[in-house]
Amino acid sequence: MNNLLTMLSPSALHIAKRDDIVWWKAWIIRIVSVVFALIVCGVITIALTKLNPVKMYMTMIEGAVGTPRLVWNLLQNTAILLCISLAVTPAFKMRFWNIGAEGQVLVGGLATATCMIFLGESLPTPLLILVMAITSIAAGALWGLVPAYFKTRFNSNETLFTLMMNYIAIQIVAYFTLEWSVHKGSGTPRTLEFGQLPMLFGQKYLINILIVIVLTVIMYIYLKYSKQGYEISVVGESENTAKYIGINVKKVVLRTMAISGAICGIAGFLLVAGTDHSLKSETAGGRGFTAIMVSWLAKFNPVFMIVTSLLIVFLEKGASKISEVYRLNPSFSDIITGIIIFFIIGSEFFINYTVKINKTSKEGSK
């Protein structure tokens, strides 16, 4: 048979599943995929905008970390995204598709704002902050418990349920935003003066960042070393196994969703009291959904989530800077981020599988 023909035939390449790959090889694959992504983005940039891609990337980096203020901004945004990612992780690990982080964050923020407005003048600041934290945790947990309750009681679909709970939360917050706006009904949100989180070492966002770092460590230990974390894994892997060894599945689902919602509540609290000092229906800003990607990309490992959330926030900030500086349509920055994330997710394929070039049958027979 013609050698060339065999090479060109569809069977010249085939895909085979890899065994476990050494961790550093996996990281080389990931890094190479990012390099490829940058090259592809560069080609597309030239084709669409005739800009110099190297310059564009420089602008991007500048937009993300160009000044100390930007760096703090980046870290603060990463912290919030990471916090929400930590929140959805136990639920996803349990195979409970919590798409409702957005709403859970918002009700947490709403609870915080309510305390700031109505208790602000009567309570001393430390006590006020404590009350704010507790109410926001409770509000988030409650918002998470509702779909969990219906799931365990009536086996309702949690994906749809949590998703719809988002809209309820958004509308409630939108209502109060109008109600509490500077001129009632104008929609300009009021700045909430009482109960703002304190600055540490003169940095406004440092306290947010520190709280999230502590949460990350706690979540890592909780999932890996606690009995409850073990129960979450078992329920997620196989409900039958959980029943077989006598785990109360309903209890685990309710408890885990309460935890998931509670941490979202904390994120809402940090956003309102620590970052924005105001409440809008855009306060969560889609991070409840982005967090799902962060969590999956990190394979539910809280420590890896630091990297994935940082990456995503970096891309967002950098890309929006490009549109701003070169006066491009904002869709262009979305294209760039999209391509980079596509390559990163795509690299997982090459980590799990290997592409082999077939030896031609002539070689096999010598």
């Binding site: 196989s238 077989y244 060894i245 030896k359 070689e363 096999g364």
Partner: protein, 520 residues
């Protein structure tokens, strides 16, 4: 008379990751010959045939058809070379008739002419002696009829080389005989037939020659007429083994589990257990025989606290206190907290007994993780238990931190059984514990069950192989359609006696599970 070689494989090698599924396999099949490919589970039989039918592509090696070297890269290529494979799991459209399924996907320039196709189908059925109504819908068919459709589908496309993957696994003994008659007719008309199997008696009664695979390696081909069961076993397993189970006399028997008139219904509201009563005694192995799906699973789950009973009682006699405990309506956790040491090896190993994605250590913890007041897990004791089981039961694994799904079936089962007996149980229930295991692993499991019996444990063993049940068990309970059909003595009963009891109450669900493997 020397027939022409229809298909020849030379030095075929295929690996998945680091697992070598086939290593330098060479074999040939002639026209008008039935070749059996014999090997234990996991020896690479199906992988090899999947390469011939274009589903997998070999890493290296050559294939020849009618003496010509060919490359088979897709099922379509295989079809062009007139190779047809009948898989273990059928691929048919339920709402279509037999004829529609047979012609499905055919590219015919003349247009779709069903009556003409039906004529051709009828010719095929008559030629080889099939029984089939071309207009019958698939969902109305029994498993054996569906298989017939699959075979005709391949013949309709003009296949000259037929490959059948474990064709008798789903058939009753009578249906098997019919299939064999048809296959012999095909041989007479010059087709080359390959059947994949691990059943020795089928090999001996049907095929002309046997190719044996062991752990992916080709061991050799022998003429059926010149071989016997023990030689084939030796080729398959690699060493001489005596297929005997030592059965000791039960001593100090006392009632341990008393099941009193229990009934339960499944999700569709159908009664799966109907007024079942029996007693399991300590120091004895109680076998449960029956057509698959007759209520065996529900029976064990009722005792383990996983089924909701509509009526009846499950009682446990505590050997220490002599008290009688009621187990009905208790959860598995409550049962354990009552001090009832119940071990249960469920049928679904990775979906129930173990968690596939967790490592061996974490799987050891499943039963015991709650122990102690700490909120954190203690991995020390499970780790040493894991090491002990790996060592004592000769589990083949890279380490105790390997996810169990990576292990082979036999090793997975050793882990599960090992964990269950580590809790020094007073009752041990095992459902189909040797399904899919190779001969050596099977005997390890039988020995473990026997060991437990000698320690005074009440062992309940659900099995499908009647020969094994008769060799291993002291008493055998026969179940049919959720009812107890009878109890026989394991030492004196015969296979025929049990077979008769199994079908007495009729309607076991055999439509989608394997049927009675009385001769396995």
């Amino acid at each position: 008379m020397e027939q022409k070689i229809a298909l020849e494989l030379k030095n075929i090698t295929k690996s998945f990751g680091s697992v070598v599924a086939n290593k330098n396999v060479s074999l040939q099949v002639r026209k008008g010959e039935i070749l059996s490919i014999l090997g234990e589970n996991g020896s690479g039989k199906t992988t090899l045939m999947n390469m011939v039918s274009g589903i997998y592509y070999p890493d290296s090696g050559q294939m020849f058809i009618d003496g010509q070297e060919v490359e088979i890269a897709s099922p379509k290529d295989a079809f062009n070379y007139k190779i047809g494979m009948i898989h273990q799991h059928f691929k048919l459209v339920d709402v279509f008739s037999a004829a529609e399924n047979i012609v499905l996907g055919l590219e015919d320039e003349k247009g779709f002419d069903l009556p003409a196709y039906v004529e051709k189908i009828k010719e095929i059925t008559e030629q080889y002696g099939f029984e089939l109504d071309p207009y019958k819908k698939i969902y109305e068919m029994s498993v054996s009829e569906k298989q017939t459709v699959e075979i005709i589908k391949v013949l309709f496309r003009g296949a000259d080389i037929l490959i059948l993957d474990e064709p008798t696994a789903v058939l009753t003994p009578q249906e098997t005989l019919k299939l064999f008659a048809v296959l012999r007719n095909m041989r007479e008309s010059g087709k080359a037939i390959i059947i994949i199997t691990h059943k020795l008696h089928e090999v001996l009664s049907l095929s002309d020659s046997v190719a044996v695979l062991r752990k992916g390696e080709y061991i050799g081909t022998v003429k059926t007429a010149e071989t016997n069961e023990s030689q084939l076993t030796e080729m398959m397993v690699g060493k001489k083994i005596s297929l005997n189970i030592e059965r000791s006399e039960p001593v100090n028997c006392s009632d341990r589990i008393v099941v009193d008139k229990i009934s339960c219904v499944n999700r569709e509201g159908i009664k799966v257990l109907d007024d079942v009563s029996f007693t399991a005694r300590s120091g004895e192995i109680l076998g449960i025989a029956g057509i698959a799906g007759s209520g065996q699973r529900e029976l064990l789950e009722s005792i383990a606290g996983l089924q909701h009973l509509t009526s009846g009682e499950v009682l446990y006699h505590d050997p220490k206190t002599g008290k009688e405990e009621r187990l009905r309506d208790k959860t598995p956790l409550e049962i354990r907290q009552m001090g009832v040491r119940l071990a249960f090896v469920p049928e679904d190993r990775l979906g129930m007994g173990l968690v596939g994605n967790m490592d061996i250590v974490d799987n050891m913890m499943l039963r015991s993780y709650k122990k102690g007041k700490s909120v954190f897990l203690q991995r020390k004791a499970p780790k040493s238990l894991a090491d002990e089981i790996i060592d004592r039961l000769e589990v083949v694994t890279p380490s105790a931190n390997t996810p169990v799904r990576r292990l082979s079936g036999g090793n997975v089962q050793k882990i599960l059984v090992g964990r269950e007996i580590a809790s020094s149980p007073t009752v041990l229930m095992a459902a189909y514990p040797v399904r899919g295991l190779d001969i050596n692993s099977s005997y390890t499991i039988y020995n473990l069950l026997n060991e437990q019996k000698q320690k005074g444990v009440a062992v309940i063993f659900v099995g499908e192989d009647l020969d094994v049940l008769l060799e291993l068990c002291d008493r055998i309970l026969v179940i049919g359609g959720g009812k107890i059909a009878g109890t026989v003595d394991g030492r004196t009963a015969t296979k025929e006696e049990i077979g008769l009891l199994m079908t007495k109450t009729g309607h076991g669900d055999i439509s989608d599970e394997r049927g009675v493997n009385t001769n396995e």
